[in-house]
């Protein structure tokens, strides 16, 4: 079966695109799917450090596009997960080195190589974003429950609709359940009401995300982390499983609820 091509984008920077791509890649590969992650942020390469693969880069996406290497030579295999691969962004080259038709060609070649292609989009709505969505079958928009991030997400969703890339689905990242309970943070219902888009996952704020990025080992490897569990749930939904959403708003003992859900499988 040809691969599903999924782009993760947000409009605003710093909301968790790269973290989401790395974690969904890990979660999908852990569950037996061959995955290729593409860093689409030319000039600001980062997915390599989040995945802990920064020392293994020889060729990058521009080398593939300009024919300096074969596609497989630029696919770096993960240390722990042989099914997980990364095509890194070019770091020093011109941002315009890649065009939407280059991306379409690259994605077409990858379709027969794996089950999932995950594309990490740069922030903004310019060329890099257009490249990232060009070959996508499905776009996941990631946002935080904050006014600026939600506003930018709405802008991106509007563009996706206009480009017939819609309807897309939403990942709500860095939700703080206790702030939501005290009504000092937009709730998932508030955000869904504003953006009117399907939800595919809610990821709670979790310090393990920073700790695991320091180590170059995404939090989805960590069976005890709440954020890791949330990313694993999203990966299962991408594979077509129906996984119930954790009710982050109305739970009393947070820990107990999560452990119960984690144990439920």
């Amino acid at each position: 079966m040809p691969a599903q091509v999924i782009t993760i984008t947000s409009g605003k920077g710093g909301v968790g695109k790269t973290t989401a791509v790395a974690n969904l890649g890990v979660a999908l590969a852990s569950s037996g799917s061959k995955v290729v992650c593409i860093d689409g942020d030319i000039g600001l390469r980062n997915l390599d450090v989040i995945l802990g693969l920064e020392n293994r880069i020889v060729y990058d996406i521009v080398d593939v596009i300009e024919g300096r290497c074969r596609l497989k030579q630029a696919m770096i295999r993960d240390k722990k997960l042989p099914l997980l691969h990364l095509i890194p962004a070019a770091q020093t080259r011109d941002k315009n080195a890649v065009s939407p038709s280059d991306m379409n060609r690259l994605v077409k070649d990858l379709r027969n190589e794996c089950e999932f292609v995950l594309i990490d989009s740069p922030a903004g709505i310019e060329r890099g974003f257009r490249n990232a969505i060009a070959g996508a079958d499905r776009v996941l928009v990631i946002t935080n429950p904050e006014v600026s991030a939600v506003r930018d997400a709405d802008r991106v969703i509007g563009i996706l609709e206009a480009e017939d890339k819609g309807p897309g689905a939403l990942i709500l990242n860095r939700l703080n359940p206790s702030l939501v309970r005290s009504k000092d943070m937009l709730s998932p219902d508030d955000v869904l009401d504003l953006l009117a888009i399907e939800l595919i996952g809610i990821v709670p704020e979790d310090e393990n995300v920073i700790i695991s990025s320091n180590r170059g080992s995404p939090v989805a490897f960590d069976q005890k982390s709440r954020a890791g569990q949330a990313f694993r749930n999203i990966a299962r939904r991408l594979k077509g499983e129906s996984v119930p959403f954790i009710d982050w708003e109305n739970q009393g003992g947070l820990w107990e609820r999560i452990q119960r859900l984690a144990g439920r499988k």
């Binding site: 904050e146 006014v147 939600v150 506003r151 709405d154 802008r155 969703i157 509007g158 609709e161 939501v180 005290s182 009504k183 000092d184 943070m185 937009l186 709730s187 508030d190 009401d193 504003l194 009117a196 888009i197």
Partner: protein, 90 residues
């Protein structure tokens, strides 16, 4: 903070965030600024007034949203036309 606010608790920040976003998103999605909406309102009043008497101060023009689609909703109360109707009745 007023006494009322102290007694009943200030509006929570999440509610302010949602209300502010609702307005901002309407304008982002429609490219219609509050000033343009005002000028649209004036034009509508002028046009409709040429045909029928309306209560200008009570006219309300809003952009409402239903999912991701936007809709311009105008509430334009008409002035009672009692004299005209009674004339016709004769």
């Amino acid at each position: 903070m007023s006494i009322f606010d102290k007694l009943f608790g200030r509006k929570r920040s999440a509610d302010s965030a949602k209300e502010r976003l609702q307005l901002v998103l309407i304008h982002d999605r429609t490219d219609l600024t509050p000033a343009e909406l005002d000028s649209l309102r004036d034009d509508l009043i002028a046009t409709i007034s040429r045909h029928v008497a309306i209560d200008e101060d009570a006219v309300q023009i809003d952009v409402e949203h239903d999912g991701r689609s936007q809709r311009l909703v105008a509430d334009i109360p008409l002035k009672p036309a009692a004299r005209r109707r009674s004339k016709r009745a004769k």
